[in-house]
């Protein structure tokens, strides 16, 4: 039986991960990281890549935000808005699981 599916909304307690059909891979030909998915290939910039790499199925969104704010020496609130928007967009495209 199929479980009823609903749109997931990002919250600080969400624990994001990459679904099985999505993977990050280094491409030696183009010397860049690619995100591979069933139809499309994405070329994330450094910050997007940093967010995606932290979607390890263990860290909460709150954790991820704190970690990024520390690494980039930035205000948590500013980072939070960007990270939440990014994860919501990727979750809506089923590229990130919440």
């Amino acid at each position: 039986m199929m479980a009823l599916r609903e749109r997931a909304l990002v919250s600080p307690r969400s624990v994001p991960s990459l679904p099985k059909h999505v993977r990050i891979q280094y491409d030696p030909v183009r010397q860049a990281f690619a995100v591979l998915s069933p139809e499309k290939i994405f070329w994330p910039n450094d910050i997007s890549l940093d967010i995606l790499r932290r979607c390890d199925g263990r860290s909460t969104v709150g954790h991820i935000i704190a970690g990024l704010a520390a690494d980039y020496d930035a205000e948590q609130e500013a980072v939070a808005a960007d990270v939440v928007a990014f994860l919501q967009e990727w979750s809506d495209k089923l590229l990130v699981k919440l």
């Binding site: 199929m2 599916r5 609903e6 749109r7 997931a8 679904p19 099985k20 059909h21 993977r23 891979q25 491409d27 030909v29 183009r30 690619a34 591979l36 069933p38 139809e39 290939i41 979750s91 809506d92 495209k93 089923l94």
Partner: protein
């Protein structure tokens, strides 16, 4: 060439033309190759390895019916060992017990399963294969049980366009991540059967509304990709993302092609893998260079601001309808013969209105058609 040559990202490997189904819109060429013309396992593996070296990140394993290749597990494993993302495109009938699990084990990343109809009777009639629908449902269940991500592919035409809402429900009920509502492209067998397949304008408009509403409703639940019908369009599609720009395909005998229908362009000749390496073909083949970039374009494409968005559309459609592979795709409203598309739609409606014509498909079969119709 006005821009530097980039490495290819994607490859469609048509492993075989053999197929248990006979869809009248099949994108394979009319002259289907028999099994004895297919590349052997080692040659495919060598080709895949060259593709990975060249920069290919994603391979779609297709056909015909790719699972008829008994070495499919081995081919998947070869790609997987090189980190290539593998997508199996299957009709999902007659796959032996245990094989789907073996594909998953070999490293398959994703499975795309076609349904000719959302209703069993439609699927069986369009594919000309009794009991096909039931087998497909079983394939979907087995794929999910093996942990494989699933796309349902629904090729749309006049005989199933009213089933679009049911396709959406079907894909949801099967637990698919993705649904492709793909209006048939009139090349290959679909061109032969165009009058039989062409939908009505009102049905096309209704379909667009249904898909838009479903996309909104299913955001974050299931992705719906919508391949709109060319003949009803204002702008053409960037066929293959531009001729020989970032993808190519390989026929069962190793002929390397810029797209499915490229062999319908009589002025081009194509090279086979084996005598030539993939890199040589990608870089130097005159057929690949014929329509690369924008230098080959005529007006109105040449000075159009969309020329690097849609790359002038489909060369094979230009060939089929304008009689010139370098013409603007007639699907474009700026094409001087764009009006011909509307005429072809009307012609098809008139032909379909004659009761004796209804569903007189030329089913796809080896040896049925030897000369392009």
């Amino acid at each position: 060439m006005s821009e530097p040559l980039l490495p290819p990202i994607g490859m469609l490997a048509e492993l075989t033309h053999r197929c248990p189904l006979q869809c009248p819109y099949c994108s394979n060429p009319l002259e289907l190759l028999k099994a004895n013309r297919e590349l052997d396992t080692q040659t495919w593996l060598g080709l895949f390895s060259q593709a990975a070296d060249l920069g290919v990140l994603q391979v779609h394993l297709s056909g015909g019916e790719p699972t008829l290749r008994r070495d499919l597990e081995q081919l998947i494993a070869g790609l997987s060992a090189r980190g290539v993302y593998t997508n199996l495109i299957t009709a999902g009938v007659g796959i032996a017990e245990g094989r789907i699990e073996a594909f998953a084990e070999a490293g398959l990343d994703h499975l795309q399963l076609s349904f000719q109809g959302a209703r069993p009777a439609t699927t069986d009639r369009i594919g000309n294969h009794k009991g096909g629908h039931e087998k497909k449902l079983e394939t979907a269940r087995r794929a999910r049980a093996a942990g494989l991500p699933l796309t349902i592919n629904a090729p749309i035409h006049r005989h199933n366009i009213e089933e679009v809402p049911e396709f959406i429900e079907l894909a949801l009920s099967l637990g698919a991540e993705r649904l492709e509502i793909a209006n048939v492209q009139y090349a290959g067998w679909a061109l032969t059967n165009r009058d039989q397949l062409m939908p009505e304008r009102a049905a096309v408009d209704r379909q667009a509304e249904i898909v838009a509403a479903a996309r909104e409703r299913l955001t974050g639940i299931m992705n719906i990709d919508f391949v709109t019908p060319d003949y009803f369009a204002i702008y053409p599609k960037p066929c293959m993302g531009g001729w020989a720009r970032d993808a190519f395909m390989v026929a069962p005998d190793g002929t390397v092609l810029p797209c499915h229908a490229a062999q319908t362009i009589p002025s081009l000749s194509f090279e086979r893998f084996g005598p030539r390496s993939l890199a040589e073909i990608w870089t130097d083949s005159p057929a690949f260079n014929a329509f690369r970039g924008t230098d080959w374009m005529q007006q109105p494409c040449r000075s159009c601001e969309r020329r690097e968005i849609d790359w002038g559309g489909c060369r094979c459609q230009a060939m089929a309808i304008a009689g010139d592979a370098a013409a603007t795709d007639p699907a474009c409203a700026k094409s001087p013969i764009h009006a011909r598309m509307a005429m072809l739609i009307d012609e098809a409606q008139r032909a379909a209105a004659i009761p004796s014509n209804d569903e007189q498909f030329v089913y796809r079969r080896i040896g049925v058609v030897t000369e392009p119709a």
